[in-house]
């Protein structure tokens, strides 16, 4: 009897080991096929030179010289140099980061109270409220942004409403301004802020807040000193989920932003499809990726440091 159970256990263990690797391998395969390999291709293109009227419109890095029987390898850094030379690209990056940063901050300021309200609502109501947060994403992203165009345009709903209230005489220029871009980004990415915040706030240990009161800490101070630190993981996760896609956002500034809003997403698009300078566009994309990766890596490092700190 004992022998039998032993055998079964061993088989289960073996199976679970095999399954484990299969389960891990699948996302790895997916990520490397659809993320890492394309990234390598982009990286490769960014070191090539642009050639007009050819397919593909760039030189290859490795060429074979049949006469000398030599393999030539040439990496061209001119694209990167061009980016740093031209202030319009730099401006484009900075503007994108600024818009993403402010949008993230706005999402946090709007999302935190909302997440808190959901987390402290009755459990019967909680799922319904979460549903309401997620539900807009069931409609196509593009359609929702078009809907905002309908709201914000001079003869749109918002202007009509404000005129009807006699607050304004002339329609306001809302569409094709930075304000419209902020509205669009905050609207589109708010759920990505609320959901991680909600999971963090639900887990807050209120006896820690009580301990703060007990030690003479006033409620407002307790909120910032004891409540918010317990939700750091949610704040960081939510901010990343908003900031990262917001930096490279293309559709929202394209549809809602003004002609002057040359954000990096738009700039890359233009380089690819208008001027057909693929290597420059690839270099722009690579730098954008670096800009996004650096804060993530720094964040993970500080977090790990925090955990190991003091364990001397």
């Amino acid at each position: 009897m004992q022998n039998k159970t032993y055998k079964i256990n061993r088989r289960q263990k073996k199976l679970s080991g095999w399954h484990k690797y299969a389960v891990i391998a699948l996302p790895y395969l997916w990520m490397s096929l659809f993320f890492f390999v394309p990234f390598l291709i982009i990286l490769k293109i960014s070191f090539a030179e642009s050639i007009d009227d050819s397919v593909p419109p760039y030189t290859s890095l490795i060429s074979f010289d049949s006469e000398d029987l030599k393999l030539n390898f040439s990496a061209y850094l001119g694209n990167y140099a061009a980016i740093f030379d031209d202030s319009t690209y730099l401006y484009s990056y900075l503007k994108s980061i600024k818009i993403a940063f402010i949008s993230t901050l706005l999402c946090l300021l709007i999302g935190y109270p909302m997440a808190w309200a959901i987390a402290t609502s009755k459990s019967s109501l909680r799922n319904a409220l979460l549903m309401l947060v997620i539900m807009p994403s069931w409609t196509s992203f593009l359609i929702r942004i078009y809907a905002w165009m309908g709201i914000l345009k001079p003869e749109g709903y918002l202007n009509s409403f404000l005129q009807w209230l006699n607050i304004i005489d002339e329609p306001l220029q809302l569409l094709h301004t930075d304000l419209a871009v902020y509205i669009g980004i905050v609207y589109a990415y708010l759920p990505f802020m609320i959901l991680p915040l909600y999971t963090a706030i639900v887990r807050v240990d209120y006896t820690i807040i009580e301990a703060g009161y007990d030690l003479g800490c006033r409620p407002a101070k307790c909120f910032f000193k004891l409540f918010v630190p317990q939700t750091y993981s949610g704040i960081i996760a939510g901010s990343m989920l908003v900031f990262i896609p917001a930096v490279g956002e293309y559709i929202i500034p394209e549809l809602l932003g003004g002609p002057g809003a040359n954000l990096i997403g738009r700039t890359i698009w233009d380089e690819y499809f208008m001027t057909r300078d693929w290597p420059l566009a690839a270099a722009l994309a690579t730098i954008m990726l670096l800009i996004l990766v650096v804060p993530i890596v720094l964040f993970y490092k500080t977090q790990r440091k925090e955990i190991t700190q003091g364990a001397k």
Binding site: T207, I208, A211, P219
Partner: protein, 398 residues
């Protein structure tokens, strides 16, 4: 009049030191620190705390003892200010603190799960309360070091709570709650998060620390052993009411009702009838389970024919194989009965005997194993005589 009072204090003062050697409750006339008057807390229709009165004296360790849901935690949270009573008043050091928010009360609490701030180091945790008072940096630093020393945690200043063991966390929590030098310290299940071995060790250490600081302390616990070893006075709570308030010894030796008797330790209860009582005859109580009457030397001062319950602790029932005799060698006329040993549980230090009486009732008796094996005491299926001293019996009316 004032002189008289002073004299009185002197006498009781000296009595304190004399009695204290025996670890008896201190009988000094102490200053009341906390007065709870007619406190009631209702949650809708449920009454969590029902019209409770309590006075806590300066410097004592007081335990609220009861099973879960008896209202002890609610009472503690009302003192701390986390709950508002439905009615009644709480007076701390002469000041009514009802309506005063917790952050303005001069008392501190050690929470059940310690509620240490996870993102702060040990030193930051202890300093937190002091920082709220806006004390100078140097004073805070000094006090933190003093507290670390008190709880022997100097080496762990820079650790975070998750890097500490359960016992270490408890020390930090204690240091944090003592750092502000509160008038009153509240302990919510102080040993709740520790394992059994550590619990026993920490009990006396905690008491030593509290006594060395001299802070008045109210603790909440469901563990009677913990209450008995740590507290000077205990209040047994049930359904929001106090059943009995007294020293551990008073409660154990002289429970005032069946609930108190059964709540602390184990006890044999005999439902009986009072036959007669008077100053000369003492009290004669008849129980249908016992072959002979219970005869007390004292007058219980109750009506004859009244239903009473007699409680006798297991260690106060003697087991013998021969018929019991008094100190003069004369056979006992009452205060004994016979039975058969049905079970013996070996507990290491003692053995617990289950003796079945003729009526079918099982009586529990404990004997030190030193006696059991040396003196050849009764074993399984032996017919035994059970006897007890009259003063071992406690007569209860409800």
């Amino acid at each position: 009049m004032a002189e008289l009072l002073k004299d009185n204090e002197k006498v009781t003062g000296s009595e304190k030191t004399a009695v204290n050697k025996n670890r008896e409750p201190v009988k000094k006339v102490r200053r009341p620190l906390l007065e709870i008057k007619n406190i009631t807390k209702k949650y809708g229709e449920n009454v969590a705390v029902d019209n409770v009165d309590l006075t806590i004296y300066e410097g004592e360790i007081f335990a609220l003892l009861g099973s879960s849901g008896c209202g002890k935690s609610t009472l503690l949270r009302m003192i701390a200010g986390f709950e508002n009573p439905t009615s009644g008043s709480i007076i701390l050091d002469g000041e009514d603190i009802i309506g005063v928010p917790p952050y303005k009360r001069h008392l501190n609490m050690m929470f059940q799960s310690y509620a240490l701030f996870p993102h702060m180091t040990v030193a930051q945790n202890i300093a937190f309360g002091l920082k709220q008072e806006k004390l100078p940096k140097k004073v805070i630093e000094e006090r933190v070091n003093q507290m670390l020393k008190l709880v022997h945690m100097e080496e762990y200043v820079n650790r975070k709570p998750h890097q500490l063991s359960g016992g270490q966390r408890q020390r930090v929590a204690l240091a944090r709650s003592l750092a502000k030098q509160p008038k009153l310290l509240l302990l919510d299940e102080p040993m709740g998060a520790l394992d059994k071995k550590l619990r026993e060790q920490m009990r006396l250490e905690l008491v030593n620390i509290i006594e060395s600081v001299g802070v008045t302390c109210i603790m909440v616990t469901h563990d009677q052993e913990e209450a008995m070893t740590m507290a000077e006075r205990i209040a047994i709570m049930n359904r929001g009411e106090f059943i009995q308030v007294g020293s551990p010894r008073q409660i154990y030796e002289n429970p005032n009702c069946c609930f108190a008797a059964e709540f602390i330790g184990s006890v044999n209860m005999f439902e009986s009838t009072l036959v007669t009582s008077g100053p000369e005859v003492g009290s004669v109580i008849r129980c249908k389970d016992l072959e002979h009457d219970i005869h007390l030397d004292i007058d219980v001062d109750l009506d004859d024919g009244m239903e009473v319950t007699v409680a006798i602790r297991p260690e106060k029932i003697y087991l013998e194989k021969t018929s019991p005799v008094d100190e003069n060698g004369q056979p006992l006329k009452d205060n004994y009965t016979t039975g058969v040993v049905t079970e013996i549980a070996y507990m290491g230090d003692i053995s617990i005997y289950h003796v079945k009486l003729n009526s079918g009732k099982v009586v529990i008796s404990t004997l030190p194993n030193v006696d059991r094996f040396n003196k050849g005491l009764p074993t399984w299926d032996d017919k035994v005589f059970l006897s007890w001293d009259p003063e071992s019996c406690v007569t209860l009316t409800f």
